[in-house]
Structure formats: structure tokens, C-alpha cells
């Protein structure tokens, strides 16, 4: 009884508190419509053509705000490490029951197609929507499919983590090479001609960095998914 009253008090007070905060915010926002300001993004759009990349978001993510992306994959890297630390200490039991034969074969058939699509999204990141993050996560979802359909499947841990390490190192090294060559960390030191815009080999380091990001994200997400699934099959 007491507990029930507690719950309803919390509901009402939570409702009132959050409504108060949000109504205040809304009131302020609706009263002050933003004036037309010249945004930094508009200036970046005019500068974008110099890099020879058709997708402006990719240029901003990988080049103009490249350090954000470096920090972002650092967050993902640390989180993957933490998840591995949390969920890896349990022994993985042998599984008695095999999953359906058709399911196994079909998912094995589907896996290369998913990986192909992921790689496409990754490599065409500077030409069309998509890029390293999306492509990497798509590849990881293919791995997830294999893990769900076949209990005995395991991601080759050492290969994947070596791949991840090399991707991480090469991202920072690309930045440092830029610092040495044109005195600008993460600067675009490879040729990036405007005339080549729209071609697969355009944009200098930008597609290169996005592929590195894709490899890193894909391997990290695969490891995260593997830890989660294996851990949950545990008992």
C-alpha cells in the first residue's frame, strides 16, 4: 500500500517537474525565433569543392571536423574494451542443440552479400550518403546474423583485434603524416583535384580515412555483438 502511494507520488511529481522544465524551454524558444545568422556550415559548403568530395557531410565529418571523428572512434574503442572487460570473464559452454540446417546455410549465403553492401557503403562514403560508421555497423550486423543463426560460430578474435589496432594506429599516423608533410594535423596531403570530383579515387585522404574508420568501427562492433551474444547464451 505504502509502496503504491510512493509510485504514484513519484509519477505525479515527475510529470509536474518535467512538464515545468519543458514548458519553460518551449516558452523561451517560441518567443525568440532565431534571426538569420551566417552559419559556419554555409562557409564550409563553399570551401567544400576544394577538397573534391561530392558528399559535403563526409568532408565535414572526416576533414573539417576530423578531430571529432578521431575522438568518436576513441569513445567506441574504449566502450568496446569496457564491454569486453565486463562480459568476457565467463566460460563459454558447448552447445548441444544445433540450429536449423536451412537457417545456418541461408545465413551463410546472406553474409557475403551483407558484407558486400557494407563495403559499398564504406567505399562510396565520399560520393553518396553513408561512410565508415554506417558501413562498419552494417558489416557488424552481418556478423550478428551469423552469431544468432549458428551457435558454434565465433569471430576470430585475434585477427579482428589486430585489424582494429592497425586501423586505429593508421588513423593517428595519417594525421601525423599530415603534420609532417604540410604542417597540419589531419591535413589533406594527397592530391585532391576538383576535376576528379565524383570519381572513386578523389578527395585525397578523405576516402582513405573513412575506410580506416569503417574497418575500426566494423571490428569493434563485431566484438561488442559477439560479447553480448556469447554472454547471453551462457546459461
Amino acid at each position: 500500500m505504502n509502496l503504491k502511494r510512493d509510485v504514484s507520488t513519484r509519477t505525479y511529481s515527475g510529470f509536474a517537474l518535467s512538464a515545468l522544465l519543458v514548458l519553460t524551454i518551449l516558452n523561451v524558444l517560441l518567443q525568440n525565433v532565431p534571426e538569420k545568422v551566417e552559419r559556419a556550415g554555409e562557409k564550409l559548403l563553399t570551401l567544400n569543392a576544394q577538397e573534391g568530395v561530392a558528399n559535403a557531410v563526409t568532408t565535414v565529418v572526416v576533414f573539417f571536423r576530423g578531430f571529432d571523428t578521431l575522438g568518436e572512434i576513441a569513445v567506441l574503442f574504449i566502450a568496446a574494451l569496457g564491454i569486453g572487460l565486463m562480459l568476457s570473464s565467463y566460460s563459454i559452454k558447448e552447445h548441444k542443440e544445433e540450429s536449423n540446417f536451412i537457417l545456418q546455410k541461408a545465413s551463410k549465403l546472406l553474409f557475403p552479400i551483407i558484407v558486400l553492401f557494407g563495403v559499398y557503403v564504406m567505399i562510396y562514403g565520399h560520393l553518396s550518403p553513408g561512410g565508415g560508421f554506417q558501413g562498419g555497423v552494417i558489416i557488424a550486423s552481418g556478423v550478428l546474423l551469423l552469431l544468432i543463426s549458428d551457435q558454434n560460430f565465433e569471430v576470430p578474435h585475434s585477427i579482428i583485434s589486430t585489424l582494429e589496432t592497425f586501423a586505429g594506429i593508421s588513423y593517428v599516423l595519417i594525421g601525423l603524416i599530415g603534420l609532417l608533410v604540410i604542417d597540419n594535423f589531419l591535413g589533406n596531403f594527397l592530391p585532391h583535384d576538383i576535376s576528379e570530383m565524383g570519381m572513386l579515387l578523389s578527395g585525397g585522404i578523405i576516402p582513405l580515412v573513412y575506410i580506416v574508420v569503417g574497418i575500426k568501427v566494423g571490428s569493434e562492433m563485431s566484438l561488442i555483438v559477439q560479447h553480448m551474444i556469447k554472454r547471453s547464451d551462457d546459461d
Binding site: N32, P34, A40, F63, F67, D68, I78, L85, F185
Partner: protein, 484 residues
């Protein structure tokens, strides 16, 4: 000379750790320590030459991200690299059976934490600061939960949930800033922020206060701090209290000074800081767990620093930087001492000090507590004296009185600890200390004494830092002058 190395090298080290782990169990620890020592020496060498250095990433400001190294941020970079170096030296002396020993993962986390703390201090782009905020946050959550005991996991969960809420409000503030001002660069924002309508200004400052308030451990938002300190290992607490909080404090006040110089909110912030100091000191009286006692003492000190920094004048800021220095040194030492005691006696209760069999540690603990209290001839005195003087000069006697009363309360529980420390109970076996740990303790103690006796040795650097931190025009000029 480039300031990017302070961030890029720890990041590179973190990414490369799985490869470096093949060097053997201790190899990675030595490499990491060497790198941190190298960064510290680099920072020391920059002390002689650098005035302003803007490192451009990809594209010149105000459009792109850039890192600003001046006397103010250099002071913090020096502090962080030095603290991290001390931490690594202490770590090298841990026994082989220690749960943190021979773990490559631990080095990834502490180096990422170092990179993120330095990045927060150097970055001149508010969204980039958010990314570093998250890196520091995530590595701190994992460090909290590292031992996977129920207590540690609970600390990690509490830290993570509050950190998530903080980052949501910070993100909301950043989106509002971009919608209304169209830029993310701190220099541009400092010129345009005052043109905002008053309501929007209040809203953005409120969200920034909530976002950073969780992290700088200010009064209504610091309910989680002591649980996190108790749950996580005292080795890790040394990092939290010595490095992480300091970088958040710097960023918060850096943004405050740039956006709203001499704002109408400063009285409010001073009161907030003083209240959180008083509350923390009063609650600390009841505690019997050493980690909790010093967590509350940390809250009190941070509240004090917050109040002093919020009064926005150069003298107060000089005082605040002295307190930051003294507090980092003393707190790191105290948490190392607690770690040593805990590793030997497997307890962190206040009673265990009665049986502490190590004259060296007893003297060190006493020294650092006296410094925290602000006894003359020790580091804590300089900052406290200057801070009280600056409050007296500006005529805020109520705040001055409250701070003095809070310090008196603080002295009560330090006295309680000291009484335990020098009781004549039967002692246990000796606490084992390796050479490198003794070197760390002696270095920290020497610095505490040196800052106390010879404050003029440090006051040059700190004065410059305080002047430059308040100098908005120079910051804007330095960022605007840069061209690709």
C-alpha cells in the same frame, strides 16, 4: 613545436596498446611511463618559449577545430602530465598480485583519460570539447567499475547514468548555441554571445551549468560523487580527484569567462560553491570510511575552488590556481596512501589508522592533511590566504566568514583522523613500500613544502596563467589571426 602531441601521442598509445602488450607484462607499463615523462618534459620546455600557440586541425579557425596552447592551458597541461607521471611511477611499484597489475587495458584507459583531459583544456571548439568530455567520461566509468565487484559496478552505473544526463544537457546547450549563433568556435562565440536575447542566454547558461555541474561536482548535482569514490579503487580516485575534476573546472570557467565576462550570475555561482563546501564539510564529520571522508573533503575543496574562480578577478584566479595545484598534490598523495594501506591491511576504515605500522606514511598523511587545511609553510596555505584576501578586498565578508567556518569544521575531522593516526595501539605488520613509491611520496611532499615556503618560485607561472585566462581579447585575437 606543436601542441597536438599532447593529445595525439596518448591516443596513439591507447590504440597501439594491443600490439604493445606483446612486449611483456611490465614492458607496456615502462613504455607508458616513458611517454608520460616525455610529455611532461615537453611541457616544461614549452614553459620557457611559448606565449601563444594555435594548432590548426585541417582548416583554420573560426571554421575548423584548433587547439590553443597559452600560459593558462600550459599550466594545466603541466599539472596533468606531472600527475599522470607520478601515478605511473606509483603504479610501477605495485605488487604483482595487485588486481590492476599487468593489465594492458588499464593503460589504454589512463592514457585516454590523459588525452581527453588535455584535449578539454586545449580545445577551442565547443563541440570538440563535448567529444573529449565523453572520452574522459567513458574511460572514467570503466575505471570505476574495473574490479567488477558489486560496489565497483554500482559506482560505475551511477557514474554512467549521471554522466549521460550531463552530456544530454550539454548537447542541448551546444545545439542551442549553434542554432542561435551559427558557430562553435569559442572565440567567435565570445564576441557574439552578448547579442543573444536575455531569455536564451539564461537557458543556455542553465544547460551548461547542469551539464558541467554534474562533472565539477557542485552542490545539488554532486549526490553521486561519494558513492563513486567509495565504490571505485582508491588508486583510481587519485586520478579522479587529481586530474579529471580539474580539467572540467578549467573548461567550465574558461567558457564562462569567454561567454559572460563579469556576468550577473557570478554571485549565484559563488553562493553555489560556498554552499557545496559547507554541506560537504558537515556531512564528512559523520563518515568512518577513509575513502568517503576524503571524497567529501574533495567536494568541499572543489566547492571552494568553484567559489573563488567564480568571483572573476585576476587575484582570485591566481589564488584558485594555487589551490588547484595544492589540492591535486595533496589529494593524489592521500589516495596513494589509502591504496597502500588498503593493499596491506585490506581495510579502509578510519580505525585502521590506529594500527598503521609505517612512520613514513603517517608523516606523509599528516603533511597532506595539514596542507589541505591551509597551515602556513605548506602549499594549501598560499592559495587559501590569497583567496580569503581577495574576498576581503572585494568586501564579501559573509562569504569569507562562511569559508572560515567551513575550514574549522574541516579541521575537526582531520583532527579525528590525526588522533587515530597517533594512538598507541598495537601495530600490525609493516606496510610494504617499494622504492619508486617512496620516491613518489617524497616528490609530492617536497613539492607541497616547496610551494608553501617558496611560493614566488611558482607565482610567476601562475600569475601569467591567471592573467591570460581572464584575457578574452588576446584569446580572440590569437584565434582570428591564424590563417592556413
Amino acid at each position: 613545436m606543436s601542441s597536438i602531441y599532447f593529445i595525439a601521442l596518448p591516443l596513439l598509445f591507447g590504440f597501439a596498446t594491443p600490439l604493445l602488450a606483446k612486449l611483456g607484462k611490465n614492458g607496456i607499463a615502462y613504455v607508458s611511463t616513458l611517454m608520460q615523462a616525455g610529455l611532461f618534459l615537453l611541457a616544461l620546455s614549452l614553459l620557457l618559449s611559448t606565449t601563444w600557440h594555435v594548432e590548426v586541425i585541417s582548416i583554420a579557425p573560426p571554421l575548423g577545430i584548433s587547439f590553443v596552447l597559452n600560459k593558462a592551458s600550459l599550466f594545466f597541461v603541466l599539472l596533468f602530465t606531472f600527475m599522470m607521471m607520478m601515478f605511473s611511477f606509483y603504479y610501477l611499484g605495485l605488487r604483482k598480485t595487485d588486481p590492476y597489475k599487468s593489465e594492458g587495458k588499464f593503460f589504454i584507459l589512463i592514457n585516454m583519460l590523459l588525452a581527453a583531459s588535455i584535449g578539454l583544456v586545449l580545445s577551442s571548439d565547443i563541440f570538440n570539447a563535448y567529444v573529449f568530455f565523453e572520452i574522459a567520461g567513458v574511460s572514467a566509468y570503466i575505471l570505476s567499475a574495473y574490479r567488477k565487484t558489486p560496489k565497483a559496478l554500482e559506482a560505475g552505473l551511477k557514474y554512467l547514468i549521471t554522466g549521460m544526463i550531463a552530456s544530454i544537457f550539454l548537447l542541448l546547450a551546444i545545439t542551442l548555441i549553434y542554432i542561435y549563433l551559427g558557430s562553435l568556435n569559442l572565440a567567435v562565440l565570445s564576441q557574439t554571445f552578448h547579442t543573444l536575447p536575455y531569455n536564451i542566454k539564461v537557458l543556455i547558461s542553465l544547460f551548461l551549468l547542469i551539464g558541467f555541474g554534474f562533472k565539477v561536482e557542485i552542490f545539488p548535482l554532486n549526490f553521486w560523487v561519494t558513492d563513486v569514490y567509495e565504490g571505485s579503487d582508491s588508486l583510481v580516485n587519485a586520478l579522479f580527484s587529481g586530474i579529471v575534476v580539474k580539467s572540467y573546472l578549467f573548461v567550465f570557467f574558461h567558457i564562462l569567462y569567454l561567454f559572460m565576462p563579469h556576468s550577473e550570475f557570478s554571485t549565484f555561482l559563488i553562493i553555489l560553491g560556498v554552499v557545496s563546501m559547507v554541506v560537504a564539510e558537515i556531512v564528512a564529520l559523520k563518515q568512518t570510511n577513509l575513502k568517503r571522508v576524503f571524497a567529501y573533503s574533495s567536494l568541499g575543496q572543489v566547492g571552494f575552488i568553484f567559489a573563488v574562480m567564480a568571483s572573476e578577478n585576476v587575484y582570485a584566479l591566481t589564488a584558485a590556481l594555487f589551490i588547484v595545484l595544492a589540492h591535486s598534490l595533496a589529494k593524489m598523495m592521500i589516495f596513494f596512501i589509502i591504496t597502500s594501506i588498503q593493499r596491506s591491511y585490506n581495510s579502509v576504515n578510519i580505525e585502521i589508522l590506529k594500527e598503521l605500522n609505517s612512520p613514513f606514511l603517517r608523516v606523509m598523511l599528516l603533511l597532506s592533511m595539514l596542507s589541505l587545511l591551509g597551515i602556513p609553510l605548506l602549499a594549501g596555505f598560499v592559495g587559501k590566504f590569497l583567496a580569503l584576501k581577495s574576498f576581503a578586498v572585494s568586501g564579501e565578508f559573509i562569504i569569507l566568514a562562511v569559508i572560515v567556518i567551513a575550514s574549522l569544521i574541516e579541521s575537526i575531522y582531520y583532527f579525528k583522523i590525526t588522533a587515530n593516526l597517533f594512538s598507541k595501539d598495537t601495530k600490525r605488520e609493516k606496510v610494504l613500500l617499494t622504492l619508486s613509491q617512496k620516491v613518489v611520496f617524497s616528490t609530492l611532499a617536497l613539492l607541497l613544502i616547496a610551494v608553501g615556503i617558496l611560493p614566488w618560485l611558482f607565482s610567476g607561472v601562475i600569475n601569467d596563467a591567471a592573467h591570460i585566462m581572464m584575457d578574452n581579447a588576446a584569446y580572440v585575437q590569437a584565434l582570428m589571426e591564424v590563417t592556413q
